[in-house]
């Protein structure tokens, strides 16, 4: 583990990926991805299905171990070493497409469990922090319920709160609204917009182009395991340079 000096932390990016490769058997999912995300930056990753965007975001906190290249988060580099992996995960929160709440625990317990285990907080501290974040995602009144009693939108907001309770420096969102009914998408996107305006570093895989246009500092477009475009939203949407991005945009904006 190499913790950089404080002044270096200011200048170094929150996430640095250099020539990252990933294979699933013979399938080359990431073909040398290089990406840098500055502290406080909001990056939206988009692309057709199978383009490697999920693999990319999941490799940042080591859920998918990468096979080659270098991934560094806030100065901690992912290695085979368990301690490095945990050091990176302490910096990173993650929200999943299927929410992945723990069904046998109440909303509050979902938010408390990891705090008391890996943040070393007492139960009281953890509960008050949990309630604070449940307020922030606007569902403190659901704290005593089990996830199955909640709507999809509510569950995803709990998942966001659960992640924030660990007070990560970086938040990863892996298609957070793809499993939601249309009428619930906006409540989740509102929470994410709030979070973005609070200065959180965010990497978000999503098909919500309206959200991307409003919130993102940069759009990263992926196809077949490589980053094809990496640009500010206005230029990406108005004048994409690659034919593949143009085709993708025409398909996704058509309906």
């Amino acid at each position: 583990m190499n913790r950089p000096e404080n002044d270096m932390l200011q200048s170094s990016p929150a996430i640095e990926m250099i020539d990252v490769h990933k294979w699933f058997g013979n399938f080359h999912a990431l073909k040398g991805v290089t990406l840098s995300v500055g502290a406080g930056e909001r990056v939206v990753i988009c692309g057709p299905s199978g383009s490697g965007k999920s693999t990319l975001i999941r490799s940042i906190n080591g859920l998918e171990p990468h096979d080659a290249g270098r991934i560094t988060v806030n100065g901690f580099t992912l290695t085979e070493n368990q301690r490095d992996l945990f050091a990176v995960r302490r910096e990173v929160g993650m929200v999943f497409q299927q929410f992945n709440l723990f069904p046998h625990l109440t909303v509050l317990e979902n938010c408390v469990l990891a705090q008391t285990r890996s943040r070393g907080r007492t139960r009281e501290e953890a509960e008050s922090i949990a309630m604070e974040y449940l307020h922030r995602v606007r569902i403190p009144e659901q704290a005593g319920k089990y996830p199955a009693r909640l709507s999809g939108g509510q569950q995803q907001r709990v998942a966001i709160a659960r992640s924030l309770c660990m007070q990560p420096k970086v938040m990863l969102f892996d298609e957070p609204t793809s499993a939601l009914d249309p009428e619930m998408i906006s409540e989740v996107l509102d929470v994410m917009t709030d979070l973005a305006s609070s200065g959180m570093t965010m990497v978000c895989v999503t098909h919500e182009m309206g959200f991307a246009r409003r919130v993102a500092d940069r759009i990263v477009f992926m196809d077949e395991g490589i980053i094809v475009e990496d640009d500010v939203p206005s230029r990406f949407f108005e004048s994409p340079t690659s034919a593949r991005a143009r085709q993708f945009l025409s398909q996704i904006l058509a309906h």
Binding site: L63, F86, Q98, F102, P103, H104, T106, S118, Y146, S163
Partner: protein
């Protein structure tokens, strides 16, 4: 009231009526079936009475349940009740030990380490493919007698205070039989443990991978994920097969009577031989097993309902 509201109203009324009819549904066919069953029971009883030439004497049951201590004049448990207590001790300790073995081996069976998987796999393979009878003899004569005697349990008990001895006999039965009891218990829990292992493994594998990923992203260790996320969900899912396995174990506990553990069926056999009242003892003993096992199914039914109420 709009027409659609009216429609749903009538719909609800009809379903309620159907439900009611389903609940009290009874016609001549049901009557015929009940009469047939009644006649069959009468026929059997009549036949048995006519052909068996057996003189029923149920009075022996209470005599073997309790007796009067000749020295103190107090009422104390007799052999049948002693046997029942031993069976209950086997059931309770066996349930705990089998669960412990099942949890550890179930986790080993789903481990990332090949060595642990091999150990647990071999254990399950051996137990499942040997007849229970052979298994009991092997464990008692080759394993338990080698393990328990050198441990010096008998000496340890002899040195204990009277209170500790009293506790020992409540928990494990008469001190002079404790080695025998422990070897029977070892058989039973090793045997049931293999099946519990497989049930636990199935439970662990039924928890989706995404749950582990959520735990990993929250910086939980593998052990914490197992303990707080996977196991609670896995055990809830496998409560019904676990109940079945434990009930099976209580019934299998009669097997250790073959190595002279003085549990219910051992005592029952003893009484049958000495009194010749075979059927009374047989039927009564069967009833006692039924009560224990049915009690277990009620307990597990309650646990299941509680698990269901909590999030499911």
């Amino acid at each position: 009231m709009t027409s659609s509201e009216q429609a749903t109203g009538t719909l609800r009324a009809t379903t309620r009526l159907q439900e009611l009819r389903r609940r009290v549904h009874f016609d001549w066919l049901d009557l015929a079936v009940i009469m047939m069953i009644g006649w069959a029971i009468w026929w059997f009883v009549d036949r048995i009475d006519g052909t068996l030439k057996y003189r029923w004497d149920w009075s022996i049951i209470p005599r073997f349940l309790v007796k009067t201590d000749l020295k103190t004049g107090a009422t104390v448990p007799n052999v049948l009740l002693e046997g029942l207590f031993t069976t209950l001790r086997l059931a309770v300790w066996g349930l705990l030990l089998a669960m412990l073995i099942g949890l550890v081996m179930g986790m080993a069976r789903t481990s990332k380490r090949l060595f642990l998987r091999l150990i647990a796999g071999t254990y399950v393979m051996l137990v499942r493919n040997i007849p229970p009878l052979v298994f009991v003899f092997i464990v008692v004569f080759f394993v338990a007698s080698q393990l328990l005697t050198p441990l010096g349990i008998n000496n340890a008990i002899a040195r204990m205070s009277p209170e500790a001895k009293a506790w020992m006999s409540i928990l494990f039965g008469p001190p002079r039989l404790i080695e025998n009891f422990l070897s029977g218990l070892l058989c039973l829990s090793l045997f049931a443990g293999a099946y519990v292992t497989e049930i636990v493994r199935a439970g662990i594998e039924s928890v989706p991978r995404s749950q582990l990923e959520a735990g990993e992203s929250l910086v939980l260790t593998r052990w914490e994920i197992m303990r707080f996320i996977v196991m609670p969900q896995a055990l809830r899912k496998v409560l019904p097969p676990l109940a079945g396995q434990f009930i099976q174990m209580v019934k299998d506990s009669s097997l250790v009577s073959l190595v002279s553990v003085q549990e219910l069926s051992f005592m029952a056999m003893d009484i049958q031989v000495s009194t010749q009242k075979v059927f009374e003892v047989l039927i009564f003993t069967g009833g006692l097993y039924f009560v224990i096992c049915y009690g277990l199914s009620l307990l597990f039914g309650y646990l299941e309902r509680r698990a269901l109420a909590g999030g499911g």
